[in-house]
């Protein structure tokens, strides 16, 4: 699914990640944790090719990211669902249009019938808010909508950047349950978070693994969490 070999990334000479080697198997569930500014978002951006590694090799969905054309990147992104830390909606379109956008832009909107769409939005508890604009939603609602958009294409890999960042514990648990459900459907899930309570709860339910970023290194954390 995702392999890194001694991969590194630096912003203008300043190392953010260095020497990262990792093999994420299909169907696995990972947490990515570390203090603010450690490089969690950077790691995820490397995964969906918003950034290219400055050193080493990254293979995603069996493709080496070096030398990918824009067209290849587009095709790969259609198989990855991303919940961005800041959600990234198109502000003048309704939530329904925003959530359907991945299908729309890849010419597959006919694949989603009204019933499935309704199932999806009621699954994230937003049936009543579909005609609202993104700015009219609370941050928790926005994060759930972002999750709905991330999975609408039925992607193989789900990357969620602080999906529970602004949520109370109740709502955070709800989002986590959604992600666990997706993992049980066979999706590979990587969640960036610094919420240890969330990680503990997930580990009680599924065999989730934890990656910790510290001093530019990404390391598998022990069972001591």
């Amino acid at each position: 699914m995702l392999q890194l070999q001694e991969a590194g990334f630096s912003y203008g000479g300043r190392d953010i990640l260095a020497d990262v080697s990792l093999d994420v198997a299909p169907g696995s569930f990972y947490f990515l944790t570390g203090p603010s500014g450690a490089g969690k978002t950077t790691f995820l951006r490397l995964c969906y090719q918003a950034l290219m590694p400055t050193r080493g090799i990254i293979r995603i969905l069996d493709r080496d990211v070096r030398g990918l054309e824009r067209e290849d990147i587009t095709q790969i992104r259609r198989r990855i669902g991303v919940v961005h830390q800041d959600c990234k909606f198109v502000d003048h379109l309704s939530m329904a249009e925003n959530i359907k956008m991945p299908l729309q832009v890849s010419g597959r909107s006919s694949e989603l019938d009204d019933a499935s769409f309704h199932d999806l939005v009621s699954w994230v508890g937003l049936s009543a808010r579909m005609n609202a604009l993104p700015n009219e939603l609370s941050s928790g609602e926005r994060q759930r909508a972002a999750l709905a958009r991330a999975v609408v294409m039925s992607p193989d890999l789900i990357l969620a950047d602080e999906p529970t960042g602004n949520l109370d514990w109740e709502m955070a648990q709800k989002i986590l349950r959604l992600l666990i459900e997706l993992n049980k459907m066979g999706k590979t899930v990587i969640i960036a978070t610094h919420d240890l309570q969330l990680i503990r709860m997930a580990k009680s339910k599924i065999p989730a693994r934890v990656l910790r970023i510290a001093n530019n290194k990404v390391q598998l954390a022990g069972a001591d969490l």
């Binding site: 067209e71 587009t74 992104r77 198109v90 832009v105 958009r149």
Partner: protein, 304 residues
């Protein structure tokens, strides 16, 4: 071959794809109206440039046609010498470079020329009327001064009449105006392309945020470009239709004058030439299509 296929594919993608991409880019009324207005103004000007080009073209053709036939040699000689001088004149003319042919006018032709003044029953044979030789000039006419000297040496009664010489610079001027009209049309097309490029660039820059979201959710560049291309093509087409219509109406209501009408009143379209300005709106749309497409792909290549 594969490239051609991809190209055609992209082209049809852009021109016929679904309209959801258009919705993703918010409407911008101000830029839209400016684009339509400028395209309209340019189309309006293009109608006049086209009319100018066609009218001066007609004028140049007519005048140069007349020029070739407007030189004559008039011979007045006593009865006994007439034929000898006529032969001498024809001989001189035929051996002069720059003259295509020379022909002695028949009595009938001369009678017809004089008819308006003397009536139909003119007894030409009995009158000492000068004989006329019609001269057809080649494209590059003869050296008139040299010809005049040779004629007076060979036939003392011959007078060279090139009273329409003054038209020659007019033909040159008309031809040049025709070229200027064509250049004006090209400049108008170029300005339209430049203006639409600028408008498209500003629209692309203003929507950078949305473009990056579209990319993150898996939109291809053609999909994004399509929204801009369609929008600017339609705006330019709309403006050009209005501008062209107004320009054609303005020309239609120009006062018309007689056949000899001065250059100004000849500025118009005749017959099926009215079809020409109808080309302006589709051509404007084509220019807008390519200008926006180029601007969009250039901008998209820059945004990472």
């Amino acid at each position: 071959m594969k490239k051609l296929y991809v190209f055609l594919n992209n082209l049809t993608d852009i021109s016929m794809g679904d309209v959801s991409a258009d919705k993703a880019i918010p409407p911008s009324g101000y830029t839209a109206n400016l684009t339509s207005f400028t395209a309209g103004a340019m189309a309006f000007l293009a109608v006049f440039a086209m009319a100018l080009s066609l009218a001066t073209g007609r004028l140049a053709d007519r005048w140069s046609g007349e020029l070739a036939r407007t030189t004559t040699v008039r011979i007045s000689a006593p009865e006994g010498q007439m034929q000898a001088q006529l032969d001498a004149v024809v001989n001189v003319l035929e051996t002069t470079t720059g003259i295509a042919s020379a022909r002695v006018m028949t009595d009938d032709e001369q009678r017809r020329l004089l008819e308006p003044w003397f009536g139909p029953d003119l007894p030409l044979e009995n009158l000492p009327i000068p004989r006329l030789v019609e001269v057809m000039e080649a494209d590059i006419g003869p050296d008139m001064e040299g010809l005049r000297l040779r004629l007076s040496a060979e036939a003392p009664g011959a007078v060279l009449d090139d009273h329409t010489r003054w038209r020659r610079p007019l033909v040159v001027a008309a031809n040049r105006l025709r070229s200027l009209g064509t250049i004006a049309i090209l400049l108008i097309a170029g300005s339209t392309a430049a203006m639409i490029t600028l408008a498209a660039q500003s629209a692309l820059a203003a929507n950078g945020q949305i473009i990056s979201v579209l990319r993150l959710v898996g939109a291809r560049d053609v999909y994004i470009a399509r929204a801009f291309v369609r929008r600017f093509t339609m705006r330019a087409l709309l403006g050009a239709i209005i501008g062209t219509t107004l320009g054609m109406i303005a020309i239609f209501f120009l006062p018309s004058a007689a056949e000899e009408g001065a250059f100004l009143t000849g500025l118009g379209f005749e017959g099926w030439y009215w079809m020409w300005p109808l080309l302006i709106p589709p051509l404007t749309a084509l220019v807008a299509f390519w200008a926006t497409r180029a601007a969009a792909f250039r901008a998209l290549a820059r945004i990472s």
